[in-house]
Symmetry: C2
Subunit: 465 residues, 2 copies
Amino acid sequence: MKDKKRYGGDLIVEMQFEEIKDILQELIESKNFFKAAQALSELAAVEVAELLEELVDNPAEILIIFRLLPKDFSAEVFAFLDPEQQESVAIAVSDAELKHIISELAFDDKIDFFEEMPANLVTKMLTLTNSQERKLVNQFLNYPESSAGSLMTIEFLELSEDMTVKEAISHIRNVGEDMETIYTIFVKSKDRKLAGVLSLRELVVANEDKIIKDIYHDNVIYAYTTDDQEEVAEMFKRYDFITLPVVDNEKRLVGIITVDDILDVVDVENTEDFHKMAGILPTDEEYGKTSIFLEAKSRFVWLLILMLGATFTGSIIQHYEDVLLAVVVLSSFIPMLMDTAGNAGAQSSTVVIRSLSLGTVDVKDFLIIVWKEFRVSLIVGVALSVINYLRIIWLLRMDAMVGLVVSLTLFLVILMAKTLGGVLPVIAKVVGIDPAVMASPLITTIVDTLALIAYFQIATQLLNI
Amino acid sequence: MKDKKRYGGDLIVEMQFEEIKDILQELIESKNFFKAAQALSELAAVEVAELLEELVDNPAEILIIFRLLPKDFSAEVFAFLDPEQQESVAIAVSDAELKHIISELAFDDKIDFFEEMPANLVTKMLTLTNSQERKLVNQFLNYPESSAGSLMTIEFLELSEDMTVKEAISHIRNVGEDMETIYTIFVKSKDRKLAGVLSLRELVVANEDKIIKDIYHDNVIYAYTTDDQEEVAEMFKRYDFITLPVVDNEKRLVGIITVDDILDVVDVENTEDFHKMAGILPTDEEYGKTSIFLEAKSRFVWLLILMLGATFTGSIIQHYEDVLLAVVVLSSFIPMLMDTAGNAGAQSSTVVIRSLSLGTVDVKDFLIIVWKEFRVSLIVGVALSVINYLRIIWLLRMDAMVGLVVSLTLFLVILMAKTLGGVLPVIAKVVGIDPAVMASPLITTIVDTLALIAYFQIATQLLNI
């Protein structure tokens, strides 16, 4: 994908990203850091950070290039570096440089950075900030992880109700430079509560002498600092927001969340769901960065529960030992029946879990889901059973009665697996368990057990054992 | 979640969403549509659309309320209605009203709407638009689904290089009202190619007499109309964009994509991955809206492939029939071994597939993945095998040799499943297959086969059968 996008600029015109990378690699290898920094400053900050991480192994060299970048740009690049590289840069630069970087970072980037650094470095950096900022940083570091408070930034525009449009515009001219966005402007009432919202567009076209009170919108939608980030993401999706105000318990505006941070939240939340649905406990870290012990721990718990759960299936087989001894060929279909049961159940539970999480179906759609899964499983079950029957008597040339036992079981098992797979996630949600738990692994264990019981019961009846 | 957000407004002040819903329900049941419409007009358009869908079954009543809403607001609400309701409204209103709705819809919403409507209605609606717009709509309807072209809208601001700042600002005052966003402004060169970008903020603070040519940024990042929406979403995530320009083959700006549409794309792409990883073919429709035949079809294909794949496991069991007859108790551990193999493999493949799709690991990390999964599986494998061994000899009071056979197999199977689960998605990516195919269902079938072979081989050796 990377190689398709092109870039403009004086040094790098209409060049593909991979070409730029090659040129930079040469410049860095030949220690032509000045020219490298010059070329880098034509790129977007995130690209520079990516290239530094990829091309430079040596912390000393990163520092050289970093220092050659335009000063404001280097702080921007810093925000995109990996925590390890941020740390090595922060340790290597002078106090004055570090102070400059910290002061230039957007407030939410600053908090992210402080959160990732070791305690002694944080202490040192806090001495480089003024006491007011120190207080704010400490407050933000205390918001629970994945809360709205931990996502927000403080660089927002707030106007008083009784300002005129003219005063408001001149205020924005003065302070707008440092804001995360100036396009959404919030209005506070006299008691300093969030009162409303106004777009820059509306402010600019309004008559200069009007009072803000008369032009702002008072139906403003907001989040609390303690709201979960998943809820916040839902609000962005529902209302197509670019910016969302965050208030404290007294309904005072304390921060804003912008949509670019929400895209990351959506990725993190989805990864969590993917992992949960594969029976992995959440780890909070990227795959490449977890220790193997943490990774092993996150996988062990569910494997153990499911292994012990499989004791049931084992004891069912033991219970019907004589059936297996009487018609030995029956055992060869156990894997196929178990796998198909698991797969059919996993399909249904995945669809329903995902729909629940997107909000496209709800608990009250319970009967609709049961009825739909039942009918889908009828179609799929009949089709697969017929194919399976023909396979057994024509290809495997086995007894027709064995074919009937296996295919009838297969049909019932698909019916059961799909209906349970559709219903169990909803039940989980009703009783307050995360529906994602009812994904493939657990569903498989449950329907495997049922599949074996059905199999042996049908065999006993039809084969007169 | 819904009940936590509060709303302002004259009629509805500081009320919870569920309370608002109750009030509206009463108003609608008592046919007090005027008051209902008045209350609705205090809400966000998306909320009105949701409430109309939830509270009103009768198309005639929707139409009454719809007509009572402020005219511009009703077009906004219309954009958020379900296609079925859009259709019933579009059929019921007069031509003049329909023309007004169509003309008020943002261009991207208009295209979405046309795409969902039946052909005869589209034809009728096209006659209500002027010829220039008709041409544009037809062009947009032809962009491939899930391409950048199908996501973009045409309401963007474009300036010529040689305008002055003053001219530019007065131009924006004139046309800004109809734009999707006025905060990101694009600049075209004399040959009408996309030349650069400028923020409204920069334009406003610039000297009035400056020429645009001298202040815009020429390193602009863009997409082509034919780029896949997944690629576009990646660009938004990487660069924290709010707006992305889209160009045609001649590099002429033909549209812009805004980040609110990207949040939907991310959801759709993730749902597709969830489904693929559960062996479901993509359907393009929400769960509640697919026909049962389409749903059955999307699930049948993989179930069939996997069922036929399970033939191998069956024939392995048949091959070792005499082993099973000699030590019957061995068959009772087959489900546990198969389930654990499948679960262990699914965990690894899920983690790796997700990391590949987020770009946090890449094909070149192949050896790192193998080595990591190998070590993780050693830890998990040893722990589970020991627990399993103790369970067999203490709890189940079985022969120590049987315990050894089962636990040794379990250990090897976890090693194999986790390593293969980590490696196969990467191999899939290298040979150009979607890694998501290597998720739970297929991995399970593969490792089940290997697990059975290992089991019978170890049993034959250790039990001297």
